[in-house]
């Protein structure tokens, strides 16, 4: 019996540690990272099959850069413009020091045109949300390693308040 109780306690501990570590891993850039605002490109806001997130295409999702292959890590240097939006300044294969950058992964290369993903391309919300689609930017926190986390969507520079339709579905 004692052995069984110890097993149960170990299980509870494993679950708590796994969940907390997972939360901490995701929370770290949000707690320690630097806030930046990124410009997006217009996208179709709804996926008819999934319907619970939008896929965000950033200005820095498509870059002009040399010497990259699919699967490579890429460090994208950023510079803030007068409107407070952070824009592409350059790209490097190695972690830059003393500069503002975001880390991504090259997914496709066509000549000098490089498609990059940063792990901030999906924004989740519930079904039946009413979401503005014009002039969208995103607030992102970037940790010292360049790992980014999406904080919120902004519309005209202001945080989006997502409203939900109050509907009743019947079979």
């Amino acid at each position: 019996m004692r052995k069984q109780v110890i097993s149960l306690l170990v299980v509870l501990l494993i679950v708590v540690v796994a969940v907390l570590s997972f939360i901490l891993y995701n929370e770290l850039p949000l707690l320690t990272g630097k806030k930046i605002i990124l410009a997006t490109r217009p996208v179709d806001p709804f996926d008819p099959f999934i319907g619970q997130y939008i896929r965000i295409n950033y200005e820095i999702s498509m870059l002009n850069a040399d010497g990259f292959n699919p699967g490579d890590n890429i460090y994208v240097l950023l510079e803030q413009d007068p409107q407070g939006i952070w824009r592409f300044k350059g790209a490097s294969k190695y972690k830059p020091s003393g500069k503002d950058f975001i880390k991504g992964r090259v997914v496709r290369v066509n000549g000098k045109s490089v498609s990059v993903e940063y792990g901030i391309e999906q924004f989740f919300f519930e079904r039946h949300a009413k979401l503005p689609t014009g002039n969208i930017t995103t607030e992102v926190k970037v940790g010292s390693s360049g790992r980014a986390k999406l904080v919120q969507l902004l519309s005209n520079g202001q945080p989006i308040e997502i409203e939900y339709e109050n509907i009743s579905i019947r079979s």
Partner: protein, 676 residues
């Protein structure tokens, strides 16, 4: 022979269903108001529910009821998965990214595997292995950068190597468990067999072989992940063999057969090179084949290619052209009713390329043509199938059937009904898929069906053959169950336009199914003898009359539903049903319950515990289904959540109480037998 574990299996299923229902109910209830709950509270709700489920499940096992406790622990593992995916959603982790998704699955299956061992929960290990399957696929896909290498056959080779390694790894783990006499050994063996059946299944298609033949053993197959995985599997396999043989040499024959199987499969994969380049389609190049801007811009004009905003070469969007002249300047567009639409008719280039099907060399010499390895068997039979392909196809299919027979024999000798069922199901699956692939071989498949029936004799003579009565009852009960849904009746003879691909209404397939049942029953009656319990014919005249009567009733229901076909309005709520449909629906459900009672009485008369269990199980299913149906019709999804939770708890309770009732009924049968 198999150990009689069906009673406990039934209780197990009932308890697990209960756990799943509670899980769905909680998930639905929370999801309904999800956006109003702060993220921290959402996470707390799920994590605390997970921990609570483990504690309650543990206490149930120790103090109350073993199986109900196990079901609650299984519920805990499902809640843990939900917690991980909830946290992923809160932090907007992109599930569209293969690697991110693979990490999530890894976090789930590894922790659940640990739980399975620590709490000795077989259900958790099944859940863990179920998650392991997509994880290994996603991780591999991520490591090769997606599905780009598909055309070269490397994709298929990669998957076969991946499944082979997984099978080898699981077999090694199963041997290790055998050596230490751990009860999970059979679970791992089940999954090993499943992976090998999958490999055989994939290879059994004629269309697969020419694709596979195009593999090129380069980096696009052997990603670092696959290399690592192969090494780990090989190491686990070899060390387990050494370990198990040092303890018990009786496994040597099984291990030898396993090694022969691996060698055969590898040899077979390489021998597909015999048909490389012999079969394939010669297709017109498409815009997607041009990988950069200059190539895209210089593509043949009739393709109508343009470099898209998403950074690839795409077909031009015809609807952007507002004038007839601009529209007609592209072959891919057509001017129809003052709109510029996509022209789907086949171009001259398409037809020219098509004439070089199955002629790789000539195809590649043509402008605007590309070669795609495949079997032209599907495409109107252009070109002949070479003898080498038929040979390979026959070898792999015969070996597949042989493998299934070996597995059935293994299941029989070791007493594992789950492995037996798996093997039998794959036999049915391969028959169906082969039939779909080559309908012209119908006579062969009829022979295979007869062979399949004869397997009932092979696996245990009359005792198993009598199972046919149970299958017959199950078949008719399932039929009633399908017809008992209010949404089915109006659609039996009225095909809704949304079922466009379906091609026909439900009426004909239903009738065809009944005729197959009649055919199988008569076949069993006249060609198979139940020599043990009754000399001569398999069914008594009374049984045949009752079966005939039930088939007639089912046919009457199907035909009478013709009159309810007109009231289909697209909505499937009970409030929109006509009175006539409603009457038929109520009648079907009464007849269904009547048939369930009749089946249980029949089981009682012939002394079949299986049929009694079946009747009880279907009765619970019918009640639960109707209950859910009513609530969803009248109260919406909130009520469904509550109902699912209550229903789930009831099922767990039933799994606790039912064994007692069942024991009493079976005891009665046994008492009667003894007194006779």
């Amino acid at each position: 022979m198999f150990r009689n574990k069906r009673g406990s299996a039934f209780v197990n299923i009932s308890a697990t269903l209960g756990a799943i229902l509670v899980f769905v109910g909680v998930a639905w209830l929370i999801a309904k108001n999800w956006h109003q709950i702060p993220n921290l509270l959402k996470t707390l709700i799920l994590v605390l529910s997970t921990l609570l489920a483990f504690v309650v499940g543990f206490l149930f096992r120790v103090k109350v009821h073993e199986i109900a406790g196990r079901a609650i622990i299984a519920l805990g593992t499902l809640l843990y998965i939900l917690s991980v995916f909830l946290i992923a959603q809160i932090y907007h982790i992109p599930t569209g990214n293969l690697q991110d998704y693979a990490w999530l699955l890894l976090l789930c299956w590894t922790v659940i595997l640990a739980i399975a061992y620590l709490l000795h929960s077989p259900e958790s290990i099944i859940i863990s292995l179920l998650l392991f399957f997509p994880w290994v696929i996603l991780q591999y896909l991520s490591s090769i950068g997606g599905m780009q290498s598909f055309e070269k056959g490397n994709f298929l080779l990669g998957f076969i190597l991946l499944f082979l390694s997984t099978g080898v790894l699981l077999y090694g783990i199963s041997l290790f468990h055998n050596a230490v006499k751990h009860t999970y050994a059979v679970l791992y063996k089940f999954w090993t067999i499943l992976y090998f059946l999958l490999i055989f299944f994939v290879l059994s298609f004629k269309g697969t072989l020419p694709f596979l033949a195009g593999f090129t053993l380069d980096n696009s197959v052997f990603s670092p992940f696959l290399m690592f995985f192969i090494l780990v599997s090989f190491f686990a396999f070899v060390s387990s063999i050494i370990f198990v043989l040092s303890k018990d040499t009786s496994y040597s024959k099984e291990v030898l057969l396993f090694v022969i199987l691996i060698v055969f499969l590898m040899f077979f994969v390489f021998s597909t090179k015999l048909v490389e380049g012999r079969l394939g389609r010669c297709l017109q190049t498409s815009c997607n084949d041009f990988k950069n801007i200059p190539e895209c811009n210089s593509a043949p004009k009739d393709l109508g290619c343009t470099w898209s905003n998403s950074n690839y070469c795409d077909r031009i969007a015809c609807y952007d052209f507002k004038s007839e002249q601009a529209c007609k300047s592209y072959y891919s567009c057509a001017w129809v009713n003052n709109y510029c639409m996509t022209n789907y008719s086949r171009s001259d280039s398409f037809l020219k390329c098509q004439s070089y099907d199955n002629q790789k060399g000539e195809c590649l010499k043509q402008d605007s043509c590309k070669w795609t390895p495949s079997s032209s068997f599907f495409y109107g039979g252009r070109g002949q199938l070479p003898l080498s392909l038929w040979f390979l196809w026959a070898v792999i299919n015969l070996t597949f059937v042989l493998f299934i027979i070996v597995i059935i024999d293994y299941a029989r000798s070791t007493g594992h009904p789950s492995i037996f069922t798996l093997a039998l199901l794959s036999f049915v699956a391969t028959m169906i898929s082969s039939f779909v692939e080559s309908p012209l071989l119908l006579p062969l498949y009829v022979c295979l069906v007869l062979y399949g029936l004869s397997l009932f004799r092979y696996i245990g003579g009359e005792e198993k053959l009598s199972g046919y009565r149970t299958y017959g009852v199950l078949y008719l009960l399932s039929f009633f169950y399908v017809l008992s849904f209010q949404i089915v009746i109006p659609y039996i003879w009225n095909r809704p336009s949304s079922f466009g691909w379906f091609g026909t209404n439900l009426g004909y397939p239903l009738i065809l199914n009944l005729l197959i049942f009649v055919w199988l029953t008569l076949f069993t009656h006249f060609f198979l003898e139940d020599t043990k319990s009754r000399k001569g014919k398999f069914f008594t005249n009374n049984e045949l009359i009752w079966m005939g009567l039930i088939v007639v009733v089912l046919l009457l229901i199907i035909f009478s539903s013709k009159f309810s076909a007109l009231d289909t309005t697209g909505s499937i709520s009970i409030t929109t049903l006509s009175t006539f449909t409603l009457i038929i629906w109520i009648l079907v459900n009464f007849l269904f319950i009547g048939f369930i009672i009749l089946s249980m009485y029949y089981g009682y008369l012939i002394g079949s515990k299986d049929i009694i269990h079946l009747g009880l199980g279907i009765f619970i299913l019918e009640i639960v289904t109707r209950y859910i149906g009513f609530w969803m019709d009248f109260k919406g999804y909130f009520a469904f959540s509550i109902l699912a939770i209550i229903g789930g708890l009831l099922l767990i309770l039933t799994s606790w109480l039912l064994p007692r009732t069942r024991r009493e009924l079976i005891q009665e049968i046994q008492d009667e037998k003894t007194s006779n």
